[in-house]
């Protein structure tokens, strides 16, 4: 729409040198110049206005509240400086939450990506009832996270949970899912993986399908086996997509909330903060203790953590895909020739 509307006014721009000679512009000429200059900004402005209202403003407002002793109900506060930040950084719960967040993040993201690539590779093969399989991997993603958490919490019950029942039936010791730090992280990571593997698999599948089939044909002619083809063709061409998936799952993983909060009935993250995550801690400070100043400060700390991790991510991925990211097929081909044709 916007481009077709913009086009008709474009010709005057072509006659600009002439306009410059005349120096005096008619009003309609001025109008069309302005149109050319400002219309694009006008057309994209709704997003930025929306972003300023629902994105920037809350972030800035949170920063203001984080320096205040805030009463949510009366919507008023008293300025108290950086006290909330100091309190947080001295609080052992915060450090436990930080540890848990990263631990759960690693336990979920790493196996999740490996599994997603594997599933995507399977779906990329010429199998029967493709659409059925592709749709069904997305099903867990459609389920509400709280529903997933409820079902899994039931499975990971310490005494009557399905998993422990099976373990004890097999003569193995029951795992104390709600007592041991690592066990609780595994249980929570399982829920996360269940929900997100299919989603990531579909994104990776889309990327895989974009790989020209000739490469595989050429590789087959060259005598490369399935694994070799996957390793030398599929994986390298997935890199840009993998970066996207890694960054989104990093952000999601650092903000993990539903699963740990539903993991037991109190939602406090365990008696000794075994599975307290930063978001859960944030929620508890805010909605359990009504201390919105501290919660806002923690929100900002979390924001900064994500920012730092994001920058590290960017730096690493930039090095990894220095000559490949988003430049179409040619660098891809280069990679292929290097690895495939060299054989």
């Amino acid at each position: 729409m916007t481009t077709t509307e913009a086009r008709p006014v474009a010709p005057p721009a072509g006659s600009e040198p002439e306009a410059r000679r005349v120096r005096v512009l008619s009003f309609s000429q001025k109008l069309s110049r302005w149109d050319l200059k400002f219309s694009p900004f006008l057309y994209i402005s709704p997003f930025f206005i929306m972003f300023a209202v629902v994105g920037l403003f809350p972030i800035a407002y949170t920063a203001v509240i984080s320096f205040m002793d805030w009463d949510l109900v009366r919507n008023e506060g008293e300025f108290i400086g950086i006290g909330q930040y100091v309190w947080l950084l001295q609080n052992p719960h915060f450090w436990a939450a930080l540890r848990n967040t990263f631990s759960i993040f690693l336990l979920s993201s790493v196996p999740q990506l490996i599994l997603a690539i594997f599933i995507a590779a399977m779906l990329d093969k010429n199998i029967r009832a493709k659409t059925f399989w592709r749709t069904s991997v997305l099903l867990p993603y459609v389920m509400a996270p709280v529903a997933v958490a409820l079902i899994f919490s039931n499975m990971f019950g310490d005494n009557h949970g399905l998993v422990n029942n099976i373990l004890t039936d097999l003569g193995l010791p029951a795992v104390q899912w709600h007592k041991e730090v690592f066990a609780s992280h595994v249980a929570i990571a399982t829920m996360v993986n269940f929900r997100w593997v299919g989603y990531n698999a579909l994104i990776l599948l889309a990327a895989m399908q974009a790989v020209p089939r000739e490469y595989y044909e050429a590789a087959t002619v060259d005598g490369a086996g399935g694994f070799r083809q996957f390793w030398s063709i599929t994986l390298p061409s997935l890199r840009p997509t993998l970066i996207f998936v890694i960054i989104t799952s990093t952000i999601g993983g650092l903000q993990i909330f539903d699963e740990p909060s539903q993991f037991d009935n109190t939602g406090e993250g365990g008696s000794a903060q075994q599975w307290l995550t930063i978001s859960l801690f944030l929620y508890n400070i805010g909605w359990r203790e009504w201390n919105f100043g501290r919660a806002a400060a923690l929100a900002w700390i979390l924001f900064l953590i994500i920012l730092v991790i994001g920058l590290i991510n960017l730096a690493i991925t930039r090095r990894l895909v220095r000559d490949e990211g988003g430049r179409g097929v040619s660098p891809l081909k280069r990679g292929l020739f290097k690895k495939g044709a060299g054989r």
Partner: protein
Amino acid sequence: MNTRAFRRSAVAVAAFSATAIVLAGCAGGGGEEPAGDSDEPVTLTIATFNDFGYTDELLQQYMDEHPNVTVEHTRAAESGDARSNYFAKLGKGGLADIEAVEIDWFAEAMQYSDMLAEAPDSVKGRWLDWKEAAATDADGRLVGFGTDIGPQGICYRADLFEAAGLPSDREGVADLFNGDWENFLDVADQYKEATGKPMIDSANSVLQGIVNQIEYTYTESDGTVIATSNPEIENAYKLVTERAIPNSAYSGQWSDDWFASMANGEFATMLCPGWMLGVISGNAADVTGWDIADVFPNGGGNWGGSYLTVPADGANVDAALALADWLTAPEQQMQAFAAAGTFPSQVEALESDELASATNEYFNDAPTGEILSTRAEAVTVAPYKDASYFKYHDALQNAVNRVFDGVEDEQTSWDTWVAEVEAF
């Protein structure tokens, strides 16, 4: 909110409601405010949690008596959910016309009593003194309609007691537990010796039972924090960690495992406020053998109980006050008691024959009305719970959880709790 304007309208509300009660059912209540016209069709929303016993039939009864009123009832699963919702919206709009508030966070709500509509004068004095006093703010405004209270007895499995060689009839069990908490835990030791199983459902319910018998637990009335220096709390913690934990099946209540366990005989007793009867019969419907004894360690104890409040910025404050009044009137409290075991807090209901003769089929036809009435009379202390009560109590419960789970030993866990309290 403009308090003066609010006060004025509150007086009008009070005056109007008083008239409305006199003219109950009649048309044309009049008054200066057109919104209060009783003929005007009005939809009232009421938000509760758990089970208040406000059945569809009960609400339908009100709608039949007031044809212009439609009542919509929403129920949160837990009081914690209701609490978040309540404070997020209080003063900003969006709450139901009538909101239920649990006693544990009622003190928090009372901080904002100026945002709640005042109950009409006509209802004053109909509740137990301490129930009503807790809902009256410093300015003398009554802003909560008391619903139920939670006098506790002891629920026990008669069949398991018999198997353990303990008395199993109601009177025998009452004699057995008659005494202090030490005595209660002695019996638990005895039970464990005989059966090898824990007698108590959860260690934290014992803690809760003890804490609810202490007037000043974590803070003094002037706000001084005594949580970690209060010898009563320290003793309670010691008693629970040393003696209740080895005798308890679970650390805390309300977990999936705990719910499942009510049916399978993992433990034999529970501390039972009236509302707990519904929880047990609901989760262990097929089990026979549950009974309730007219006794409680160390005298009486009240656990839980709620209030109905009417946010002052609601659209139908007058009509909501009338409904809250009706719901907490003696007859309706009795109906709620019959439906969910929520024990009435109204003097008149407590004295009624209906209550005295109430029995519970599931609990071996126990005269629950009579038993809980005696238990209510035995309550001598109304614990002081200020706005920070939740924070302290949650942390202390976690200290017990850590010992139960073997994450930390008794002393370490106490030190952790002290450190936590200092960090607040």
